[in-house]
Symmetry: D2
Subunit: 350 residues, 4 copies
């Protein structure tokens, strides 16, 4: 039996860091071998440093690991990064420089022209951008990113439509879960019985990342998709699961059944490669009038499936629908993990 | 001192009926003289029949009133109606036939061509439609309606823009409070920690009512506004206050300051007439990046002011913003009350 | 391979009825063969009649079953009953009369002197009361009940203490989940951001059932435990999981470690018999200062384990602690299922 | 017209500090003249330094005031202190040393033998402890405290019973609002849909403060009440208002009506003196089976009245009931304000 690839987690004590720990437990290819967090946690046992917020138990082996300093010395060659953007902007390049494969959930480098921003079902070919990274050429290190939690469910729903019919315009309004803000994140006094119609920088990320994700690789760079895209981002009193009300205009007219079929039949690289974290069905259409709902649908496909519902005509654009995806699984840790699995199969982790 | 006009409440035990009772206590012109509800409540003291959900105490005088049968015999000539649509469709015409002025919050007759659908700040002139009503001609009875709770805040925000710049397109996504569904209404198991992306018939109402409200009276009928209008309606775990993410395209280009000024300076008939329930400022713009929020802003202007915030460019239409209004005050009982006050000043209640 | 025992569900469309359907899917011994609900549902496919509130999908086979009238004709011989008390009082005896084994979650017959009120870990021997039932003697039919959802977690925590040290006094204050009230149950307007310090008849049930459960079978009847027992019941905005603050006075003084050990080491009949729904550890003590919590601990042991924490001295009685259990699994459907499993092993379902 | 007494607020940017600002606006005797907060805020305009969480608007005059350093130089002679305990332990004595009257909401000095812990309705005579304070003798400065937010409602409900019938034993279980933890305080991820059965040091405070408050001044010290008192403290998803389930044993047996009367008729020093913040009725009994509830009753008496309900026999002690009080008004800022008003009338602020 082949031994697993040792991986490290940068930002291991945060909500997304914890998801990495949870999802890597029992992973067939990867094994947590190194954990780093802020100075405050350094040197302590992870089980003491972390305020564990997952619903499954903290794995004993990981609980007993020491938290390392957040520097490349002694780190394994594959790093999952769950850092705040400001810190990531400094640390991720240092790890890439030190020949690490940095699989990042941070926004810091997502829009850099030579950094792939990937959803393996949507734009697995963008991985080739890696060849342009100076780190890669120098040391074999590199950085790969996944999108913001608000963009990922939307783009999974848009991708089959874009490929089959062409997208001309998108309007999306989010109702985002509190776990998207990390821990402690949103104060209970701010959100109990309330809606907050603002999440700093979220709309900008959602708009530009959507266009890059659905863009085309052309030579050494990604030409972003050119359709109109507007986002409104709101926070609601939901634990996990970003719900989005979306209107879309298509280039080629399509009927309701065709669209539903394009979602239900959508399969892509991760499904073909049978990547361990790939859901059997990346996008599912729910026929019930009042679905998807976070309560019932957030864990579809172990949190890796985007659920779509309520497809109906839009009197301004062509169609309206609702999309829901799990913001800390498909929208964060699971997204990075699927990226890493793709990288492994493509030979980038050798 | 002149005596007050006796008024009746149809559907007095529901959430909106209770708001009528609450708002009519201490009203300078009107006085509750008659209450009707379902058969089950008939003959009982109101205080026993109602499951009082308001935060102020049930007025003792009203608590002791007997609940009357829901029929015109013995009812006063001014009736506030807070009935389910199916029942309203039958009962409201019967009261109008019996020469009552029916000031209704129900959706049943809103879209009838000779029934005014009014927000006094927006289309007070539509009251002239009354002259076309057969009831009016026959018996002096009539029916006036106010819009759905999801339409009213939106239309208050749109009206000054429509008048000043002309509206070409509107996209609106609601996050609606549970009180909008009445009592018991939304089950806690359905909404705690959840979003429900569906409210039966709400999107249709919101779209068609918006166009009628912003339409023009032409001869004996209203020509609805002709702009594109699309709505998505969601339910969230908020007690009172519908929040809406809105994008709008204007006919005449307008700057951010001009738009904000058009909201803050918007005054209309109820303010000129100093109607008792009219807010000093019907629309207020909040400069904070994260407002309006139900927690803080729902009671602005005693629940009669619509709060707008976050005006920023939209990359698909021209502008995006958030609007919030109180769904059972400005969006229901307060709306009807303001209609009744206008009717009185215009001589329709004489 | 032996075929499974066909079972019926009375009250199949309610929240507890749905739990039965969910928990019986893949059950090794039982198979849903018959579903009954109110007249309104009769004759319809279950999938259409039910408003499915479980987070797992409604099993297709069950969805397609027709809802039968709630009468013994055509019903299988093993019936799980999840009826409102008033209806149960009438229907359960009719099914027992018709030679059915009625395994009931209803409160209607729990306190009847010849009806076993059982938690198999606590008082499996009470099953012998069945021999006294007139139905049993006449037709082999009988009724067995499980306790109220508020009593069951408490009694599981008390049982090892009672056996080992003797209980003298118990004070318990509950904070109960909304699912305990069924569906639609508690209105969202009543509970969002609120506490309701009252649940009709709950305190009475909790007090008397606790004493019967911890009572002794003496000849043909149960002599209830004689300790002082007082309960306060509150409703809080939690979906699943009743949390209880408990103070207890013991007859024989016990140290903290002894008590914790008595919980952690507690094993009983269901564990010895390896009943399919029996949790490996019926009571678990959590050492963290702030546990148990519904968010993290409600699903322990597939919802069949009671979690206890915060054992500390009480300055009035001897000890204080917090107990949590899943109110619709261990507190309802799972409780009945475990009773049925015990009955089968004991030969009562032959 | 006499000019108002200038007062300062220590810890002005926190939730309780904000309540002081809110409640002092329009106060007939006091006027905010000085605001201090942490170093981070120093020198900034209060309106910029604070994240205003009150539902009324931040008064313009206060918004424009500069935040001063938290040191006595330049501070007025009357100081409301809303500091964390660790900081208060250091700062409050420094202000008292500098001849300030420190009216504190902090727990730091509450249990000091020469510091009055006061609820003016309950133990106004304890103010005489001030004479024993070394600060007072040296500089006229002193420290007066009010109890923890969990103790105050309970003690208001207990006081009339203790005076009239004598208390022998009290068991209290709290369900406390999130605002009691300040801002940002409880993370939304911790409390949405959850109960947290632990608040650090809360039970200890509640138990010892209750006994001191109901104790007797004897010479220069308070002899605490000697009854048994046990508390369990829980956090629930409520914004404002601590609800408590209480059982009590009385020395002299009392009937239900007597007890209810003792609450409803309870009047004390603040009512006699007509202190500006004193509620007309400090304790009100609500006859409804399901009250008090935070949603409806938290603002009774402008948040200064404790609401009691559900008085019924307890099978362990004598009586059970529910008490609710507003934790940041009666339980914090309003408590201190009432203390200050008493001090003024008694001549301690001259």
């Amino acid at each position: 039996m082949q031994s697993k690839i040792p991986v490290g987690i940068l930002g291991a004590t945060g909500v997304v860091g914890q998801r990495f720990v949870q999802m890597l437990e029992h992973h067939p290819w990867f094994e947590v071998a190194w954990l780093a967090a802020s100075d405050r946690s350094e040197g302590r046992a992870y089980g003491e440093a972390v305020r564990w917020r997952m619903k499954t138990a903290l794995p004993l082996r990981v609980a007993e690991m020491r938290v390392s300093p957040a520097s490349p010395a002694g780190a394994p060659k594959v790093i999952f990064a769950a850092l705040d953007a400001a810190i990531a902007a400094d640390l991720e390049p240092r790890f890439a420089d030190a020949s690490c494969a940095v699989v990042s959930n941070s926004s810091a480098l997502r829009m850099h022209s030579d950094v792939p921003l990937m959803i393996p079902e949507v734009n697995a070919d963008h991985v080739k951008l890696l060849e342009c990274q100076s780190w890669r050429r120098k040391s074999h290190g590199f950085v790969v990113t996944n999108p913001n939690c608000s963009a990922i469910g939307l783009v999974m729903a848009l991708a089959p439509l874009h490929h089959q019919f062409g997208i001309e315009t998108v309007m999306a309004v989010t109702m985002q879960a509190v776990s998207g803000a990390g821990y402690p994140g949103v104060a209970s006094l701010d959100i109990l019985g309330n809606v907050i119609p603002y999440i700093a920088k979220e709309e900008e990320k959602m708009e530009e990342e959507t266009l890059k994700l659905l863009g085309k690789l052309d030579g050494g760079k990604v030409v972003p998709a050119s359709f109109g895209m507007s986002a409104h981002c709101n926070r609601v009193a939901v634990e996990d699961g970003h719900t989005e009300s979306v209107s879309v205009k298509l280039k080629k007219k399509a009927g309701q059944d065709e669209i539903i079929r394009s979602w239900n039949e959508f399969r892509s690289v991760p499904q073909e490669l049978q990547l361990p974290s790939a859901p059997a069905q990346p996008v599912q259409y729910l026929a019930s009038a009042d679905r998807p709902q976070p309560r019932f649908d957030v864990d579809a496909g172990n949190g890796m499936t985007a659920s779509v519902g309520r497809l109906r005509p839009c009197s301004v654009l062509d169609w309206k629908f609702t999309v829901l995806s799990h913001n800390t699984i498909r929208g964060a840790a699971g997204a990075a993990l699927l990226n890493a699995e793709l990288l492994k199969v493509r030979g980038y982790l050798d």
